[in-house]
Amino acid sequence: MINWLSDLIFWIFFGAILFTLRGQRIFWTVGALALLLLFNQFFTPGFFHIQLLDGHFYGSRIDVLNQGAKVMLLSLGMVLVIATGGVDLSVGAVMAISAAVSSRLLVTEHQPAGIAIAAALAICVLAGAWNGLLVAGFGIQPIIATLVLMVAGRGVAQLITEGQIINFLDPTMVYLGNGHLFALPFTLTLVLVMLVLTLFLIRRTALGLFIESVGDNYEASRYSGVNALQVKFLVYTFSGLCAGLAGLVACSNIKSADANNIGLYLELDAILAVVVGGTSLQGGRFYLVGAVVGALFIQTLTTTLYARNVSSDVSPVPKALVIIAVCLFQSDVFRARTSRLFRPLTRILKPLSSRLPGKLFTTPRHDAPEP
């Protein structure tokens, strides 16, 4: 492959995207990803190397897309939940349930792949609805409500697999996580399809508006007649569906259902992806594509470390630094205290982005209190 040419095309493409996004919040997430990729371009030999083998593309960037699919899928559901001011800690466990149900139906019950997949997704939707019932119906705090399924879910998954790791060879199931479409991993297609579907759900219905409204000001939404409970119920159900899909991809990747390890800690990665993508944990305005890019960023970070022979065991440390950095970025107090430091920086960046998102570097105004 003529690497420098393909790299050049890549960077022109990326640069164009960045340019179009200037002035929007997602600029920063994509920018962070760009920085990371730039680092790899110069300092990690072979990172940008792409091969075409057997009609499929291979390379580190492709790995990122493939491996990151699970978290990208999770983040689609998680961002909506967080936007309503909640959180879903159970997605990892639900992934395990999805893997368990599908594998069991496939191998032990000898059902066709279509049934196995459909059943797994249906059950995960129910799991999400259960969370929704606890949060919207009973008014239980989301962290607590989803903690229940987080703990019990894995047990349920193990119950379904009867403690075994179920291996399967069914071509359809295997294709989900390992197949290729148009020379690129099928998982990429899956993510894109889900992204489009979610965008449709958000933009073509009023759900996007209601979610942001409920997350931004619950009381005012209620006064305006928004059915806040229905909105909350729906987002948790959807999160369950996303987790179900991610679980199918996960078990397909390893061609087996390991109820113990599938999805382990992925809920935390998903939350991180959402936050890196620009959505605040408080809720309100959310950035769907930002969350997906955030997931890409995290995966790129992981893959970068791997490519540089940093042990995968140690890779959580940079993740921790990312969390801190993002939180500081979002913290009003931090911005207020360091605004003076950043002013020269904003002057440099101004030509690059026509309007810096929000009040990024300005001191929060202290409003005059009611007399």
Partner: protein
């Protein structure tokens, strides 16, 4: 002349754009209950915050028992002897009564808390109020009235010389108020100085020795309660002299021409404990019904009951003759009722959503989740109202938080106008809005009425009520005390109604 307990001289405090306090004087003696009154924006709570060190003052001086003080925090003020008990009873709900009284000053023995000493101290503090409670019981298991007493006991335990009570009776019923007043009188006899902030007229006459009235940051005057007729107090608070009012030329809205006699909404005996006493109300299409009364008289509470935000304990609501029950705002909206709330920050604006999104929200909510308004419809809708209400915004995608208060209010109005309601409840729609915008909103109300809407107009400004309404219902101390129609409506009449309404006098 004994040294006054508290002497505030020429206190001033300003914020960007508003002078909250302008050379205010206040003198409180020991053994005196001094009421502090004023309408919205008068400066009462700023005065208290400056006194207790929450804000630094711009000018003026405060003397406690003759010595100049300048506390920099509520804790410092407490140490000096000034304690405040707020309406929201700022105590810790899950700790016990005794703990709440002693929190922060628990007696210890080498770092370990002496619970016995705490119990003794708490018991003594409560005894000063003739109160005896189960000290180990969780505070939240007691009623708000009792919790308030505990807060007072805490304040006393910190050896307060001056006790400031900020709206202490808003959530209390009659017997609880009597109990509280009994305790306050006892404390007064003990030499405590008490500043009592309230808007309940009868209570002021019941308990206070002196009344200081503030208006727009200035002190209107300090009066001996016994010598101040109610009508004078009302006029001081509103800022209008009764005789002046008669002489002023009044512009009145033209008499309703489009009106039917069938009321659109009827409330019969509608009430809720702690909110409002049962009242009757009728709103007819093509008519503006003004709801007048001083701050805290129950107007917003009434609106909330009519909109389904709160549920009534008693009485019924009828829409076009049929009994209805509003369990939530959605139910009321289904009957084509709209409400712009009094506190738009809390219940109105969605700050991080755009102007367009805020405008279409209620309409979209009524259509449900699945039938979305197309973007172009949304844009047309937003543009229509930006134009018709003259909303000043660079574009419709501006975040609502960036607009001025007046324009935010207009966006809220647009939100509800978009739903084409039949009954429009406007709770203080012109509060915090510049004069120009005010006039526009008033014009809007009249045009709504001409179109046949029924309008319930709540305002603290009497002139507005008088100008806009065909009928006026007057509330005072959470009760309906009068109703005026057409020619009867005048500021004087409203003020008289508020002042002279017969109240059951609580037992002395």
């Amino acid at each position: 002349m004994a040294t006054p307990l508290l002497e505030v001289t020429a206190l001033s405090k300003g914020f960007p754009g508003v002078k909250a306090l302008d050379a205010v004087d206040l003198t409180v003696q020991a053994g005196e209950i001094h009421a502090l009154m004023g309408e919205n924006g008068a400066g009462k709570s700023t005065l208290i915050k400056v006194l207790t060190g929450v804000f630094p003052r711009d000018a003026g001086e405060t003397r406690l028992e003759g010595k100049i003080i300048a506390p920099k925090s509520p804790r410092e003020a407490e140490a000096l002897g000034i304690s405040t008990v707020y309406q929201e009873v700022n105590l810790v709900p899950h700790l016990s009564v005794a703990e709440n009284i002693c929190l922060g000053r628990q007696p210890t023995w080498f770092g370990a808390i002496r619970w016995g000493a705490i119990a003794r101290r708490a018991r003594a503090a409560l005894a000063r109020l003739d109160l005896s409670l189960e000290l180990k019981r969780q505070l939240s298991s007691y009623s708000i009235a009792i919790q308030q007493m505990v807060a007072i006991a805490r304040a006393l335990d910190i050896s307060a010389k001056l006790l400031i009570l900020d709206e202490p009776t808003s959530s209390l019923d009659k017997s609880e108020v009597e109990e509280l007043f009994k305790k306050l009188r006892k404390l007064r006899e003990g030499g405590l100085g008490i500043i009592f902030i309230t808007h309940f007229l009868e209570q002021v006459y019941d308990i206070s020795d002196l009344i200081t009235v503030l208006r727009n940051g200035r002190r209107v005057g300090c009066f001996a309660t016994r010598e101040l007729p109610r009508i004078k107090l009302v006029s001081h608070m509103i800022g209008k002299d009764v005789r002046e009012v008669e002489a002023l030329e009044r512009k009145r809205a033209s008499a309703a021409t489009i009106r039917s006699d069938q009321p659109m909404l009827e409330a019969k005996g509608l009430g809720r404990k702690g909110f409002i006493h049962p009242l009757d109300l009728e709103i007819r299409p093509g008519e503006v019904l003004g709801l007048a009364g001083l701050l805290g008289s129950g107007r917003t509470e009434t609106a909330r009951l009519l909109f389904g935000v709160d549920r009534p304990d008693q009485g019924t609501i009828l829409m076009n003759g049929r009994t209805v029950k509003f369990n939530s705002p959605r139910a009321a909206i289904r009957y084509r009722i709209a409400l712009t709330p009094e506190d738009r920050k809390v219940a109105g604006i969605i700050p991080n959503l755009t102007v367009r999104e805020n405008v279409v929200l209620a309409l979209q909510a009524s259509r449900g989740t699945w039938r979305r308004l197309t973007v172009s419809d949304q844009e047309k809708l937003a543009d229509r109202f930006i134009k018709s209400l003259d909303i000043k915004t660079p574009n419709r995608e501006q975040m609502l938080r960036n607009l001025s208060g007046g324009n935010q209010q207009k966006v809220l109005l647009a939100r509800w106008l978009a739903t084409e309601p039949k009954l429009f409840i406007l709770d203080e729609p012109t509060r915090g809005i510049d004069v120009g915008a005010k006039a526009e909103i008033e014009k809007l109300i009249q045009s709504l009425r001409q179109e046949g809407l029924a309008v319930l107009f709540i305002s603290s400004e009497l002139e507005e009520i008088v100008r806009q309404s065909q009928r006026v219902v007057i509330l005072r101390d959470r009760r309906k005390v009068g109703e005026l129609t057409e020619a009867e409506i005048s500021e004087e009449a409203i003020m008289q109604s508020i002042a002279t309404a017969e109240m059951e006098r609580p037992a002395a």
